[in-house]
């Protein structure tokens, strides 16, 4: 489903930052993979490289068999099949919750307004806030905004969902409602790649956990392996710091 091979990414800001160094990984259909690691370890960068919000410098990234780094690939077509959820929600602020859900459906998927609205209401129901359909993002709580954002991504019928620290900007009491939606999604068999600091979620839902540090994948394993007896010292150190 998703395959990254020897991906490199370097940022040049005030100084050179090697964000990704020879990263290779694969995610199969229906798998839930959680990427964890200290801040600055490159976990968000690899996620953003997967749908070309960040362009990898070297390597290959295949989504459903399509090499997205090939200049001939229409990245918009690839993105249609990949939902992304951001740390800062990024809801369209001039649109209601319903408008957020229907816009890309009508513009990109060319669905009729009626069809898009029906789909949107089903999804708002699913994330538990059908009554907020006509609210603007500024009038929603963080947790509600993030649930609308998840629904917005789902409205496109994506094959893969990317979550970039979806609960990091939320007040603690709202984290649960967002994680619940994500758990439901995982149970339904959605392919998910989740960057998060929620170890509970990783332990409970993940099929595999990837630990990254300093732009490299240090360790990959099942949650049991990971939280019970990690092999690498860096993993042990990280886990001891956060658990």
């Amino acid at each position: 489903m998703v395959r990254a091979e020897n991906v490199y990414k370097t940022f040049y800001t005030t100084h050179k930052i090697e964000a990704l160094v020879d990263v290779s990984c694969r995610v199969d259909k229906g798998e839930v993979v959680v990427i964890i690691g200290p801040s600055g370890s490159g976990k968000s960068t690899i996620l953003r490289c997967l749908n070309m919000l960040e362009k990898a410098d070297e390597g290959h990234i295949y989504i459903d068999g399509v090499d997205i780094l090939d200049p001939k690939t229409n990245i918009n077509k690839v993105r249609e099949e990949m939902g992304m959820v951001f740390q800062s929600f990024n809801l369209f602020r001039h649109k209601t919750a319903l408008g957020n859900l229907t816009l890309a459906q009508t513009v990109v998927r060319k669905r009729s307004k009626k069809e898009a609205e029906e789909k949107a209401m089903v999804l708002l129901e699913k994330v538990g806030i059908p009554d907020k359909a006509d609210s603007y993002p500024d009038n929603l709580s963080g947790g509600q905004q993030q649930r609308v954002a998840i629904a917005r991504a789902l409205a496109m019928n994506p094959k893969v969902m990317l979550f970039d620290e979806p609960t990091s900007a939320l007040d603690p009491e709202m984290i649960g409602e967002v994680l619940d939606v994500m758990k439901t999604l995982a149970l339904e068999g959605m392919t998910m790649i989740v960057v998060t600091h929620e170890m509970g979620f990783a332990r409970e839902v993940a099929d595999r956990v990837i630990f990254m540090d300093e732009g490299q994948i240090v360790e990959v394993g099942t949650p049991e392996h990971f939280f019970k007896n990690p092999t690498h010292d860096r993993t042990k150190l990280f886990l001891s710091q956060i658990l």
Binding site: E80, M82, A104, D138
Partner: protein
């Protein structure tokens, strides 16, 4: 002090100063007007406000003249008009003349061009005509300025160096030279060239009005471009990322997500720019466009009432700019999120 009483100090401490300030404001306005009036009296200026309305709308006497020579054959009253039949050597003509202005009687001999009578007609005065030209020039220039500014603004933030550098060059050139000089260039350089080319190809000349409009639009466009750029860049980049992550193209994201949000933010500076444009149109008089300022100057020359006329001119500009500013405030309320 008795309970419930309200002393002067209490009044001053609560609402008093506010009332006194408001009073002072109006006093000041009156003092300025009074001062100006007093000064004009000192230089023996005679105010003749009653003469001003005729430059907006005036009652003109139109004379009815005979086109042929001959005898007045008959006068036939028809209501409050009289039909004058003039019989020449071999032609006959009938003129309808208001009865109270009739100047001829039956049997009179008429030469071609003689006045038979006259009637009154309302005509649009020069100031109103000038105001209309100013309005016309401003509206066209604002419209073109928005189009130029929008595309230049988008080019300005493009990743393509050809687009970006073209936009920067245009913006810097226009912002770096005086509008007056640009108007001269548009009319005396580009205008001469273009009109000569048109003439060589057997086509008619373009009137100065269009060169004036072009100068204003291109001038405003550069400023609008910078306003548009700032507006777009003020929208959080996450909005663009979210749109792109849903599979929308860059133009789609701009159209549906970024520009609608940017539009609200750029409305106030945009309004300021277009208010400037209306005022800048007063420079167009120098290339023989008879807009409001030029019209006022012409009337001042003939009427010798400069004081009244320049005040009127200023007030007319104020009416235009104030209306625009009201309209933009209305737009702002209309486009408010959740409104």
């Amino acid at each position: 002090m008795a309970e419930g009483s309200f002393s002067v100090t209490d009044y001053l401490r609560t609402r008093g100063w506010r009332h006194i300030s408001i009073f002072l404001f109006f006093l000041m306005i009156l003092a300025v007007i009074g001062g100006i009036y007093y000064a004009t009296q000192k230089v023996e200026y005679t105010w003749r406000w009653y003469r001003i309305p005729q430059y907006f709308y005036y009652h003109d006497r139109v004379e009815i003249r005979a086109e042929i020579g001959g005898d007045v054959a008959s006068l036939v009253p028809k209501g409050d008009r009289v039909e004058v039949k003039v019989r020449g050597a071999d032609v006959e003509e009938v003129y309808s003349v208001p009865a109270d202005s009739l100047r001829v009687s039956e049997g009179d001999y008429i030469y071609p061009g003689d006045i038979l009578g006259s009637y009154q007609q309302w005509k649009v005065g020069i100031l109103l005509k000038g105001l209309w030209v100013t309005l016309e020039v401003s509206i066209i220039a604002v419209f073109l300025g928005i189009v130029i500014g929008l595309f230049t603004g988008l080019a300005r933030i493009s990743k393509n160096p050809a687009l970006r550098w073209t936009a920067i060059t245009y913006i810097e050139l226009v912002r770096g030279s005086p509008l007056l000089v640009q108007i001269f260039i548009w009319y005396f350089v580009l205008g001469t060239m273009f009109n000569t080319l048109l003439a060589q190809n057997g086509m008619g000349q373009l009137s100065p009005l269009w060169y004036g409009v072009a100068a204003l639009a291109v001038f405003a466009g550069a400023y609008v471009a910078e306003i548009v750029r700032a507006g777009i860049q003020s929208i959080h980049f996450g909005q663009m990322e979210a749109a792109r992550s849903l599979g929308m193209t860059y133009p789609q994201s701009m159209h549906y997500i970024i520009l609608p949000q940017a539009f609200r933010r750029i409305l106030p500076p945009l309004a300021g720019q277009f208010i400037s444009l209306i005022k800048d149109s007063s420079l167009l008089g120098i290339i023989a466009i008879r807009e409001l300022t030029k019209a006022t100057r012409e009337v001042v020359t003939s009427s010798l009432q400069p004081f009244e006329l320049w005040f009127v001119c200023a007030i007319l500009y104020l009416v235009l700019t104030f209306s625009l500013s009201m309209f933009v405030q209305y737009l702002e309320r209309r486009t408010a999120i959740g409104g």
